[in-house]
Symmetry: C2
Subunit: 332 residues, 2 copies
């Protein structure tokens, strides 16, 4: 039996600052950007794309970091591992994460590439198309894992994007092993359809052997199991993990735990502005619910509300008090 | 008779990046911040206040720069003078301004303080309380004025905030003289109630001798003329300047030109999120209208629409296409 956990959720991911700009669809064509997806770019491309981008705003991002910020905003105890550089963007990232109450102690990179940035082009249909320069975040590795923190976290949550770098992937698997050995839970988000395609075998290996809680959207789950039958994909994941939460955009989400299955409606939204972070914040709500032993339906409801908040404005960090929004007691 | 102008509007102001965070009113009390106003702070205070601030987003700001970005977004030809440092925030500021189409060629400061930042605490009532570290922007001076650009601009628009530094104030007055000598118009915004109190005599001198177009909100105009009678204040400004546009929050605005007076209603707004930049974008609409010789009523209408856009989200730069929003032809 594991000791009382010091953290409800530890997140591990690429520490990224988002640079968000509204664009027309023609911009994506001109810049050969794959719509609604995440593409890795190098520093030169980041410079030229930024020069072409309209007036932007900068907000801390990073998939797992967004999720951790959301969980902290809901009132749970969180920590985060990710690598920033010792530069202005890195300071911004650290400030924004610590300001949520999350623990963050990874040593910034002193020499080398700058803090990661994700250039996010948001089209009028609220879809976000992401071009990511990983910079310092890609140098996250084994040495950045604080094993005591992993052992002290009830759930260690990791983003699939980490699989794009071998060093990060090794650290990722190692973290999952430490967590399991300490009797803790591990969670994974599949992150992106193309990311699943790039790393399907590794993901399947991990999901079957190391992951207790899986997050994915419908397309990612279908891609993982190479099927176009949603029920079949659900049956697979039910066998492979004990718990999964699968988002289906405006159709809501499906949560499964053991034999139980719950369908959760999407929250109504007045104005869908920018879908960046919708999946990340959905995971915040579900993981918060799990940390409080709430029902599957309640986990899904919290996820839907948090996702709806993020979708209603630019940026992937909440702009309103999530506890109040979710009807949770604001003082506990 | 002046030559055909190359620029419709040239803006001169403090080049600032905004750091915007939603807070509760208690935060203002704890941090001794004067609500709904602008306070100048030093670098140490900027650091300690930033550390206390919740998770934030960064957007280019600066009152006159916001106005210029808005005018460019409406489709007019603009330029801007303001001083940034040769750092990341400076690059962000330059990118965001040039991306609107505005000309910006002031040499960044190579050594010395960093780019100015304005820490903006936004309370649930959508009021913004600003703490500004002027940094490099305060070193804007006479040498940064490109006299050819001033002579080539139909209107030179300046923000009252510049009066907080003697060097900037001298440059400001000099720019107004160059513009007048070239047969161009000059415009001024009073910027802030406390700014008017600090510099009333200088402002009165400028308004009476050098300014053709005055922007103010009701409180600033009353403070300038030390009266609590709005009609009396309007009579003063009608005598001192040929043209004035005075905003009155949800009551709309009053525009006067010679003997003419027009009342303009505020635009209805679904959700007032953050009033940062409302006055700046109102000025964008009016100055755009003036550049196109539109009626007083139409100038005011464009100002109200642009202000309503800015108020509906965090940040003082437009997130939607202002030409489409204002019903202007999007292709000219």
């Amino acid at each position: 039996m594991a000791e009382q956990a010091k953290y409800d959720v530890l997140g591990i991911g690429n520490a990224i600052v988002d640079v968000i700009a509204p664009v027309q669809d023609a911009f994506l064509t001109e810049q050969s950007i794959t719509k609604a997806s995440m593409t890795l770019i190098d520093e030169d491309r980041a410079s030229s794309l930024y020069a072409a981008l309209p007036s932007a705003s900068e907000t801390s991002g990073g998939s797992a970091a967004n999720t951790i910020a959301g969980i902290a905003g809901l009132g749970a105890r969180t920590a985060y591992f990710g690598k920033v550089a010792n530069d202005e963007l890195g300071k911004t990232f650290i400030h924004d994460l610590r300001a949520t109450g999350a623990g963050f102690d990874v040593t910034p990179l002193a020499n080398g590439p700058g803090t990661a940035r994700c250039l996010i082009a948001v089209t009028p249909d609220a879809q976000r198309s992401m071009s990511t320069y990983l910079g310092a975040s890609s140098l996250f590795g084994m040495n950045d894992l604080d094993e005591d923190v992993i052992r002290a976290a009830a759930i260690t949550y990791m983003e699939g994007y980490l699989f794009d770098r071998d060093e990060a992937k090794a650290a990722f698997v190692h973290a999952a092993e430490i967590a399991a050995a300490a009797g803790r839970k591990t969670a994974l988000t599949l992150s992106d359809l193309f990311c699943v395609d790039r790393h399907r075998q590794s993901f399947l290996h991990l999901v079957r052997g190391h992951i207790d809680i899986l997050f994915a959207n419908e397309a990612e789950l279908l891609a993982l199991y190479e099927t176009d039958d949603f029920d079949r994909a659900l049956a697979h994941v039910r066998k492979d993990c004990g718990f999964a939460a699968v988002t289906r955009s405006e159709k809501g989400s499906v949560l499964i735990s053991g034999d139980e299955t719950v369908l959760v409606k999407a929250e109504p939204i007045d104005q869908v502005v920018d879908t960046t972070g919708a999946g990340d914040l959905y995971a915040s709500g579900v993981l918060y619910g799990l940390s409080r032993n709430l029902s599957l339906a309640e986990c899904g409801r919290l996820g839907s509300i948090a996702a709806a908040e993020i979708i209603s404005h630019y940026g992937a960090r909440a702009q309103t008090n999530l506890r109040i929004l979710c009807g949770l007691d604001a003082h506990s």
